[in-house]
């Protein structure tokens, strides 16, 4: 069984391209040309070079002595937080901006939750000299303000979105509407492995550099390319897709995806899609979705803006139903505790999203020889406000 998408963008029963006709020409063009473009030698060479010289890759794989002692396993941290712009999101935006240029597009739009994808998009647009408009839920504009300021300084226009819960889902709706209204000159840089085919596969390919590097780095450090566990948080699922990618077909590697439980899976304020969702269609693909019995999308909740989304990408829905990956969830409090712990034991302040992956270390019984890789998808600068109020409440 393959865990990759087929040529119509299906992962098992999930995926596809459920789009209104207004989006058809753009999406169809991408479907037809994305593989040819991104697999070409010129593209690969430029992409690789930018990842190295501009984004600072490879990101280190850091052996954490203190977490290893604490959890009785060999814990490695994949340091996506050290990338330029502070998260894994830059891997995807570098790829997509090169693609957009080849397609002759002059205007870039994006959605963002935590603002990391927005900053990563604004960054590559500044470098490419392209107009950049970022849609961001009004609630997220307020709770991730450092990133809003960065996007503005980078020359992007940040458009707050006031519909729905004013978070990531609503920003995505608005970006789609923009694309419908600007079908000729605009490329939509989607920030996760969601959306219509080919986005899930395309974004996963751009992020797959994470697991490509993990394999090489593990080989160098341990003499073996594969770990026992890879742990990553899942909003839409792009950092997890990248961290899992080159291990998907190796059943000896346990894949752990961590969703945001918010205030608790059963609290009514949660974003744990695999536990709360059913199969449905949103934002152009069929996947697991949090929804009412009537098929209205339920507003999710997580303290972490990047995980505050009512669905997961179709690749992950398939990994869940086939049981190839195990899905866990961490609450706001568990994530905050894990973030503080890493900060105090290792001097690394992780993003609140990544803190959900770290929180999963508490939930798994490891054997002492287990090699565990946790993907630290981003850094916590943007989350200082949430961290400070938590930190003060614990003193």
């Amino acid at each position: 069984m393959s865990y990759q998408s087929d040529d119509k963008g299906y992962y098992g029963e999930f995926g596809g391209a459920f789009i209104p006709e207004m989006m058809y020409p753009n999406v169809h063009q991408l479907q037809n040309c994305y593989l040819e473009i991104i697999e070409s030698d010129d593209f690969r060479q430029e992409f690789k070079q930018l990842l190295r010289d501009y984004a600072g890759r490879p990101s280190p794989l850091y052996y954490s002595d203190r977490l290893s002692d604490h959890y009785y396993a060999k814990i490695y941290l994949k340091r996506e937080d050290l990338n330029h712009t502070g998260s894994h999101k830059i891997n995807n935006t570098i790829g997509q901006i090169l693609l957009a240029k080849q397609l002759g597009k002059t205007r870039i739009i994006a959605e963002t939750g935590a603002g990391q994808h927005g900053v990563a998009t604004a960054t590559v647009c500044a470098r490419a000299g392209l107009d950049c408009i970022v849609y961001m839920g009004a609630l997220d504009v307020a709770r991730q303000s450092p990133n809003v300021e960065k996007m503005k300084m980078l020359g992007a226009e940040v458009r707050p979105v006031f519909s729905g819960n004013k978070t990531l889902k609503d920003a995505t709706n608005e970006a789609i509407r923009d694309w419908i209204n600007n079908p000729v000159d605009t490329h939509y840089i989607l920030g996760s492995v969601v959306g219509p085919h080919p986005y899930p596969d395309m974004v996963a390919r751009f992020q797959s550099v994470i697991s490509e590097e993990i394999r090489m780095q593990l080989l160098e450090k341990t003499g073996k390319e594969t770990p026992d566990y890879v742990i990553a948080c899942v909003g839409g699922g792009s950092n997890a897709a990248g961290a899992f990618y080159h291990f998907l077909d190796d059943p000896t590697v346990k894949l752990i995806a961590v969703e945001a439980a918010g205030k608790g899976v059963d609290s009514g304020e949660s974003a744990a899609t695999t536990q709360l969702g059913r199969t449905g269609v949103l934002h152009g693909s069929k996947s697991l979705l949090m929804q009412t019995p009537d098929g209205q999308i339920v507003e999710p909740y997580s303290l972490s803006a990047g995980l505050d989304y009512p669905g997961i990408g179709p690749m992950h829905a398939n990994l869940f139903v086939t049981k190839r990956a195990q899905f866990l969830s961490a609450t706001d409090d568990e994530a905050l505790r894990a973030a503080l712990y890493l900060t105090q034991k290792e001097g690394i302040i992780p993003a609140l999203e990544s803190a959900h992956a770290l929180a999963a270390l508490e939930m798994i019984e490891f054997k002492p020889d287990d090699v565990v890789v946790v993907n630290v998808s981003g850094r916590g600068d943007k989350d200082m406000e949430a961290y400070l109020s938590y930190y003060q409440s614990t003193k």
């Binding site: 596809g16 391209a17 459920f18 789009i19 209104p20 006709e21 207004m22 058809y24 020409p25 519909s163 729905g164 889902k169 709706n173 789609i176 509407r177 419908i180 209204n181 600007n182 079908p183 000729v184 059913r278 449905g280 269609v281 949103l282 934002h283 152009g284 979705l289 929804q291 019995p293 009537d294 098929g295 209205q296 999308i297």
Partner: protein, 258 residues
């Protein structure tokens, strides 16, 4: 296939006035009232919107009406309940328009069967693409004499328009410009050359032009290039006028087109 849509076009093939509204808006139980008054006032065809929480092809007016309709408690089950007896009093063609997810949760086959039972003639489901319709659902729709209506836009290639034409059993919905619903503006040169291009293709299907049609002038202009036109946001907006009876608002609005 024959239904009220095909017989309408046999009877009349110009200046067809088609009007959209969102079920459950402004009030939950306005549905039958609005449809009946639309028919009485001379509307040829009615599109009943099934509200969805995330209507990506819609502009602010229909977004807002959908949000209010959902808050009022509208669901597909309730809508079918409201429409149960509609064919005792209304004879113009009725089309249900909405996004795929709520229909999928209802069950597509069950949905189509219920439509037939009630006397619904067609559906518009913008995010159900042609390819998936053709391979998975066409038979179910046709068995229930439902015309699924497809959209074309100024960006749709001739080749694809021909494909859409061959799969259409009701009419082709020509989106007037590249936009979400409710963006209005005078019909411009670019749109006219698009309308002309399609007219010259001599399609077998009838065509209605929608999106951005809002008054008599834009209706007449659009109708000049097709079999008629569709009004959505402008009507939904007119329904929000407080202080008069819903029927009066409907009547006053439709009158402006004659």
């Amino acid at each position: 296939m024959e239904n009220r849509i095909t017989s309408l076009f046999k009877r009349k093939d110009e200046n067809i006035l088609s009007i959209y509204f969102t079920a459950g808006y402004p009030e939950l139980n306005d549905t039958v009232k609005i449809i009946s008054q639309l028919e009485k006032s001379g509307t040829d065809l009615v599109e009943i919107g099934m509200p969805f929480s995330d209507p990506v092809a819609d502009g602010p007016v229909i977004q807002q009406s959908s949000e209010i309709a959902l808050r009022n408690g509208m669901t597909i089950h309730l809508l079918f309940e409201q429409l149960k007896e509609i064919r005792k009093s209304v004879s113009i063609p009725l089309i249900l328009m909405g996004y795929l997810n709520p229909v999928m949760q209802y069950g597509i086959e069950a949905f189509c069967e219920k439509c037939k039972e009630i006397g619904i003639d067609g559906t518009i489901i913008p995010d159900l693409p042609l390819e998936i319709y053709e391979t998975e659902y066409k038979e179910i729709f046709e068995k229930n004499t439902l015309s699924n209506i497809f959209l074309v836009t100024p960006q749709t290639s001739d080749e694809r328009i021909k494909q859409i034409d061959s799969l259409s059993t009701g009419f082709i919905y020509m989106v007037s410009s590249s936009s979400t619903t409710g963006v209005k503006g005078a019909v411009n040169e670019e749109q006219i050359s698009y309308f002309e291009r399609i007219r010259k293709m001599n399609l077998r299907s009838k065509r209605l032009i929608g999106f951005g049609i809002y008054d008599k002038a834009s209706f007449e202009k659009a109708s000049g290039y097709a079999n008629g036109a569709i009004i959505g946001s402008a009507f939904v907006k007119a329904l929000e006028d407080e202080g008069t009876e819903t029927e009066t608002r409907v009547k006053n609005f439709v009158q402006k087109f004659y």
